[in-house]
């Protein structure tokens, strides 16, 4: 349900705990992987043109950590970090993702599963964001219409930014 399509990314909510983002790229898989996992390249796209990325740290090994921070226009600093759980070069990357703007961020971290699939010379990407529990997600989106929406916006990083 709640499938919306505008632009080229497609976002759906497959289950209570999940968010699925899909997109195709006109580039071979190893280059998408490179752009996704190389700090100086991530710095060039992760900001989504909504601010400036101030920190981009990637320690790409199982158990290694990552941290992205950006100063979003009209919103301020937003930071995320996590740990790599599974790495299959050019194919699959599993990591945790904690939004630093909420209390006990790590406790409520989501698990992100990036999958890259070859489609001829193109690459199909999917990012599955899994919240640990329905309650974990509820805490951010179910605390009343206005607060719930605001928390959801905060939790899901750039949403508030993109609504400016």
């Amino acid at each position: 349900m709640a499938a919306v399509s505008s632009g080229t990314a497609r976002v759906t909510l497959p289950t209570d705990e999940q968010i699925l983002i899909t997109r195709e790229f006109d580039a071979p898989r190893h280059l998408v992987w490179k752009a996704w996992t190389t700090p100086e390249l991530v710095r060039r796209w992760w900001h989504a043109n909504r601010g400036e990325m101030t920190i981009c740290e990637i320690d790409l090994r199982v158990g290694g950590t990552w941290r992205y921070v950006m100063v979003a226009d009209g919103f301020g600093e937003v930071g995320f970090h996590g740990e790599y759980r599974e790495i299959v070069s050019n194919e699959r990357l599993v990591s945790t993702e904690a939004y630093e703007g909420i209390p006990d961020a790590d406790e409520h971290a989501a698990v992100d599963i990036l999958t890259l699939e070859e489609v001829g010379e193109r690459t199909r990407m999917s990012i599955l964001v899994e919240h640990p529990t329905k309650e974990g997600r509820d805490m951010h989106i179910n605390s009343g219409m206005e607060d719930g929406l605001q928390d959801a916006l905060d939790l899901l990083e750039g949403v508030a930014v993109s609504l400016r």
């Binding site: 349900m1 709640a2 919306v4 399509s5 505008s6 632009g7 080229t8 990314a9 497609r10 976002v11 909510l13 209570d16 968010i19 983002i21 997109r23 790229f25 006109d26 580039a27 071979p28 280059l31 998408v32 490179k34 752009a35 390249l41 060039r44 796209w45 992760w46 900001h47 989504a48 043109n49 909504r50 329905k134 509820d138 805490m139 989106i141 179910n142 605390s143 009343g144 219409m145 719930g148 929406l149 959801a152 916006l153 899901l156 990083e157 750039g158 949403v159 508030a160 930014v161 993109s162 609504l163």
Partner: protein, 117 residues
């Protein structure tokens, strides 16, 4: 931590899989509660309970036709969810548009490197 009432908003109303099923059925048109009982394979009291939650957030409306009560979807009440998802989607689209530019450069660079070897 304190939890909001379960009927607080549209997000919670659709967080329950059975309620989403009800919305899916009602998206296809108006139905009496019996149709929903059959389609979902649930007892009527359960269906009625879910319908009450959905009505409280305005996601479902009801009208009487003769002796029947017909339920229908009110999509407007689900707009906060739509907005939330589409905002998130816009952010990712923005990222991917930038990523396209990076990938074009990487492709060109790789082609150059390849031809110079």
């Amino acid at each position: 931590m304190a939890r909001a009432a379960t009927t607080a908003d549209a997000f919670n109303a659709v967080a329950e899989p059975r309620r989403r099923q009800i919305l899916d059925v009602l998206a296809g048109g108006e139905h009496p509660v019996n149709d929903l009982v059959v389609r979902l394979g649930l007892a009527q009291p359960q269906v009625s309970k879910h319908l009450r939650v959905l009505r409280e957030v305005g996601a479902v409306e009801v009208r009487g036709v003769g002796r029947q009560r017909l339920y229908r979807l009110n999509g407007e009440a689900l707009k906060p969810i739509h907005d939330w998802v589409s905002g998130y989607e816009r952010m990712w689209s923005g990222r991917f548009d930038e990523l396209d530019v990076v990938l074009e450069e990487l492709k060109e660079k790789e082609a150059e490197d390849g031809s110079s070897e």
